[in-house]
Amino acid sequence: MRDKINARSMTAVAGLLLEAWALYVVGASPHRWRPSLIVEDETAAHILYDAMIRALHDARRLSYTSACSNPDDRTSTYRIWLKKPGSFHVEQTNDASTKSTTLLDDGNGLWVHWVGDRPTLLIDTEKSHADARSDVYVKKASLAAGGSIRNEAAMLGTALVRLILDPSIFYGSVNPFAPSIDGIRSRGTNPVRGEVCDVIEVSFMRARRTWYIWLSRQDHLPRRFKEIVRGADTRVTVEEWSNVTVNAEIPPKLLTWSPPEGWRPWDPPRLEDSLLQSGQEAPDFTLRSARRGKLSLSDYHGRVVWLYLWDTGSPQCRAEIPGFQQLCREYGDKGPVFLGFNCSDDKRIARVFLRENGVTFPSVLDSSEAATRLIHTGYGNKAGILPLNYIMDPQGRVVDGWFGQEQDPDRVLAALKKAGLELAQ
């Protein structure tokens, strides 16, 4: 009898353990952070990655169709023609939409235009959209000298899903994440539409971002990308390359454009225009702190505050945070209060990052909807670009705000001085 009960108990326990494992596997990952995802570098795989970059750099002309999708069943298609030294044509459409955006660089300038009425863009205000809804185009400086086709397509296009690989790499630009590569390893071979491809896994920033790249053995160019970005939510994007042609002639008409009669140039609003302007009161908040507990902006009234919006997925933020900590240590109470704000990271990842960099200044660490909305609408970061800096005076009013790409020490010192702090450079 006892044996029977024991056998039953053992079976029940085994069943429960098995079910617990099943729920753990289907329920948690890919949201679960695992240090095992950080890749150790393998020479053979690194050679494949370098061969891909070299193939992009060496090609004189390249055209392909890129279908970018995510699990929400949204797909954006990009038809891309690239020609050295600095011409390209990118047509971008979304599933279930007839609207399209064309970015065309003829080597002298970048033209952006839309089919039909211009959709509301990320950078649009209600007024800017109403004022320039149809028969408009944007003329900008050529991207040949530097710049990112991927970013321009995201800012001026209507893509639901962004490109993973920036086509600007074809012109010699450096992959912005390349300096943050942890390692590259081989994942064997896998067919893509009948073509056998070598698969490599590239992890960046301690696996905050991972790429799987399917590389053709014929031309060393990608046939598929899978990008996993592990933040507060895990975002996955798949980019499929098809119709890849290298060094084939590109019809000249694809690389020239002039505005039709009656069309007018449109000067799109700058991203900075949406930020809080000097003299405006910074919205107060009470949100979760990285050290647990709550943290309010109003706690620092009476002192100059340098609000720094960051996340661990931005190479620039990762590079700047140790510098902030050093400034914090050097100036102490005589300097501004450095206040970090992170609303897009997994808490565990962000805490590990702060600990590893010995960060002692306070930081908000809250990925709730309220925190995200505050940054998006309250602090005007509509595009979610990081890092974003604000300097506020002791009364809590904004003195200056700028995105991180702009690294101008004079501007920082001037803003601090205006806020009431005189610091040596």
């Binding site: 729920l23 596997v25 329920g27 699990p71 896998n190």
Partner: protein
């Protein structure tokens, strides 16, 4: 022999059952013929029709009919454990479904060979996922049949599942960032028949959007299969316990 008789009974207990099989098989053929689908489109169709609607049709009144007619009293007085009755009836449904799905696969393969259109690459995975879903739904419906009279077990299950998914879908749409919605979604995802998990398994979504290279993530696929089998087991244990505890009277319900 007893097992064979009890399993056979699940097919012959009502005359409409063979018609259900034939109609369903014709539907698969017509769907393939009219829409010339790729395997994923056909897979979705098969998944819902054979994984959800077929067990409801086949298990309608599987115990309820016998309880209502009083026949159950005759059956349970035979010298065997009442749990066997439940197990063999469920097994009967499961075997029917397996044969049904093999026939469905044959229909599709024949049409594919004749029409030379569409792809059948992932058909096997879809058939497996459908069979697993069938088993969990059949177990739930069979257990329900012990406590719900006549054929209302299927109707009740249909109403509850459709309403439940509709409400959760609606809530997720309007309150997508609320913590309570995600808890509600988890509630419907794990203890209920694993529609979402098995669908993702068959459609290759675990692999496509997970940290794996291939289309299928082995770990997650195995976990999905284990979870669906475990659910079937839990539903069955509940059914067996209910069957063992219920006092059947000779007076008709």
């Amino acid at each position: 022999m007893r097992a064979y008789e009890l399993m056979k009974e699940t097919f012959f207990r009502r005359t409409y059952i063979w018609m259900v099989h034939v109609i369903w098989l014709v539907l698969y053929g017509v769907f393939w013929w009219l829409f010339l689908p790729e395997a994923p489109e056909f897979g979705r169709f098969l998944f819902i029709w054979a994984g959800f609607f077929l067990p409801l049709a086949l298990s309608a009144g599987i115990f309820g009919d016998d309880i209502a007619s009083g026949r159950i009293c005759v059956i349970v007085t035979r010298p065997f454990w009442t749990g066997e009755l439940y197990i063999y009836r469920l097994l009967g449904l499961s075997v029917q479904a397996a044969v049904h799905l093999l026939l469905a696969g044959a229909v599709v393969l024949i049409l594919h060979a004749v029409m030379r259109k569409g792809r059948v690459d992932d058909l096997g995975v879809w058939l497996l996922a459908t069979w697993l879903l069938f088993n969990t739904c059949a177990a739930l419906s069979t257990s329900l049949s012990i406590v719900v009279g006549r054929a209302f077990n299927s109707l009740l299950l249909l109403v509850v599942i459709v309403t439940g998914y509709f409400l959760v879908g609606l809530l997720s749409m309007y309150l997508r960032d609320q913590a309570s919605t995600s808890a509600l979604a988890s509630f419907i995802r794990y203890p209920w028949p694993p529609f979402e998990l098995l669908y993702k398994f068959a459609a290759g979504e675990w692999g496509q959007y997970a940290p794996t290279v291939g289309k299928y993530s082995v770990n997650k696929s195995i976990a999905c299969v284990v979870h669906s089998l475990m659910l079937m087991l839990v539903y069955s244990i509940i059914g067996i316990v209910l069957l063992g505890r219920r006092q059947f009277s000779r007076v008709r319900d």
